[in-house]
Symmetry: C2
Subunit: 362 residues, 2 copies
Amino acid sequence: MAKNISFLTLSFLSLIFTFDTFGQEAKATFIDARELTLVGKIYHKGPFYHRLDTAAIPDLPKAVKVLATHAAGLAITFQTSSSKISAKWCTSSGVPTDNMTGLAFEGMDLYIKRNDRWQYAGVARPKSHNCNEAEIVANMAPGNKTCLLFLPTYDETISLQIGVDAGATISPATHPFKKNIVVYGSSIVQGASASRPGLSYPARLSRETGLNFINLGFSGNAKMETEVANLVSDLSMDALILDCVPNPSPEEVLARTTNFVTTIRKKHPKIPIIAIQSIAREKGNFDTQVASRVSLKNNYFETEIKKLQKHDQNLYLIYADGLLGDDQEGTTDGIHPNDLGFDRMLHKVRPMILKIFRSYEI
Amino acid sequence: MAKNISFLTLSFLSLIFTFDTFGQEAKATFIDARELTLVGKIYHKGPFYHRLDTAAIPDLPKAVKVLATHAAGLAITFQTSSSKISAKWCTSSGVPTDNMTGLAFEGMDLYIKRNDRWQYAGVARPKSHNCNEAEIVANMAPGNKTCLLFLPTYDETISLQIGVDAGATISPATHPFKKNIVVYGSSIVQGASASRPGLSYPARLSRETGLNFINLGFSGNAKMETEVANLVSDLSMDALILDCVPNPSPEEVLARTTNFVTTIRKKHPKIPIIAIQSIAREKGNFDTQVASRVSLKNNYFETEIKKLQKHDQNLYLIYADGLLGDDQEGTTDGIHPNDLGFDRMLHKVRPMILKIFRSYEI
C-alpha cells in the first residue's frame, strides 16, 4: 500500500499550489495521510482511521462500535526533508469532557526520531470541533526526519492531510514498532486525561519499547462482553494486556472474567496474558462507597485470575497497589490518571511487562 | 469577617430548603462561600473572588487587569460535619483553550485534611461555561472535616455556594497557611495545563509546605512592566519568587529585569527574592528559533540578576536546566508543563526554595 511520493512529484505539485505566492513565503504542499504509513492497527480493513472494522459484527455493543471509530493509539509515520510540518484534518463534532484537553480529544502530537529516541516535536492545535489547519513545527534544521504523528484520542478522524515545504520530500516510513501487544481496557487505556494523544500509556509504551501496543481502550465500556471477547480473540497478537476492571460492576467482573480469558486462550494457546487490577480511584479517598466498590472488583478479579492460573502458566496478574504513588495527585478527577499518574504507572508496570515478555522472546 | 454558622442556623435553613422533599433524600443546604475563609489573597479588598484590586491602578496593562479577576490560587477553607459536599457556582463565559481541561479552567477541586496532610477528595465538574451545580464528594464517614476548595484557575468566579447535608454544621476554618510568598509569573504560574486548579504549582507548594504561596501568574502577560513592579512592591510579603522570563521578549528581559527587582527591593529591603530562569520550551526541541530565543532570554536574565547580586545578598537565581526531566514528556504543548512536568519542577525547586527560606526563618 505504501507509495513513495518522490521529490519530483511534490515539486510539480508545489508549482500548482504556489504559483500565486510569488514574493511571499512558499505555501505548504499537502499530502493525504492515507498515502503514508499507518501505525497502531492490526488489520488494515474498514475505514482507514477506525481502530477496528466492526461492520461484520452486528452483536457488538453499540457503544463499543462507536468508540472503535476513535483513532486512539493510531499514528502516521513518514519521512520528510521539510523544515516545517503542518496538518489539515477533520474530526466528528464531539466536544471534550471536563477532564480532557482539546489537544488530546481532537488534536494531534508529533514526535521525531533523534538519537534513537522518539522526541516531542509539536502539537496540532484544534481551533474548532470539526475541521482544522495548524502548523505543528517550523524552523527545523536541514536533513531528513522520521516522523510519528499521533491522531486524536477521543474523536473520529475523518480526514488528514500533512503539509510540508513546497519542494520538500515526503514518503511513507517503515513501521517503527514490532509485534502486536493488544491492550484491552477502559478510558484510562483509551487515553482520557492524558494531556495529548501520544501521552496515553499504550502510546508511551510503544515509543519507549519499540513494541507495537495496540490501543483497544473503550471509554466506559470495557465490560468483557462475550462479543468483545470473540472480537479480541480474532486478532493476531503476541501478547494481551487486560486493564478492564474499572468499567464492569463487581458482579460483571465475577461473572465475565473467566469467559473472557478462556475465549481468548482458545485461539491463542501460548501468548502471555497480563491482567492488571484497577488502579485506586482517588475519588474513594473519602467516598467510602467508591473505595469499597473498587476493592471488591479487584478482589473478584484476583480470585478469578488465580483460579485460571492453576491451569494456565501464561496468565499473569499485576496488583494495582501504589501504581499512582501515595500523594493522591496522580489523577485529574479522582478516576483518570493525569500525565503524572500515567508516568508513575509506567515506572512500575513497564519493567514487569518487559520481564514477562523476555520469557517469550517478545 | 469570619462568622460561625451554627448547627442551629443551618437546621433552620434546612427546614426552608427541604420541606418539599418529604420522603426523598434531604436536599443539601447551601451557604455563600463569602461567609467562609478565603485563602490565597493578601489584601481583602475589591471583588471577593478577584486576586487583586486593580481599580485604583489605571495605568496597569489591560490584560493584567483582566487576568487579576481570575481566581487562580484562591481557595475557600471551612469545617463541616457533612457526609457530602456540593457546589453551585457561576463563572464568566470563557471557554478553555486547547491545552486546558474544563476542570482547571472553570471547575474546582477539594482537599480534606487527614493525617496532617491535604488529601484529594473530589472535583466540581463544570457542565456549562456559566453557572453549574455539582456534587464534589459523597458517602463520607461521620466526623468533622477541614476542607480546602480551590477555585477556577482561568475564569472569573462570580459566585459560589457550598452545599452540605441538611442539618450538618459548616463554619469558616482557620487560615491554614503561614506567611506570604508571592509568585509572579506567566501562564505556567497561573496554572495553565495543570489538570485541575489545585495542581498548579503554587497551590501544590502551599499544601505541601504549609506556606501561603500567592498566585500572581498572568497568562502571557508577566512582562515586568513598571506599573506591575509598583503593584507587586505594595504587597505585604515575606518572600518573592520571580518566574517571569517566559512572556517578555529577550529585549524586554534585558531592559526590565533590573528595574523590576530594584523597585521591589526599595520597599522590601531584606526579603529573599528568588529568580527562576524559563523552563525549556520542548517546542524548541526541533524549532531552532524557539530554542535560541529561550536561551537568549535566560542568558539575559542571568546577566541582569548576577549584576544585581553584587549588591544584593538576598537575591537568588535558580537555573532552569533539567527542571522538566530529560524525556521531553513533561509538557502538554511544548510550552506549558503538564502535571508530570510540574511534579518534576517541584522535586527540584521545592528543596532549593525551602533551603533559602530557612535562613530567613520562613
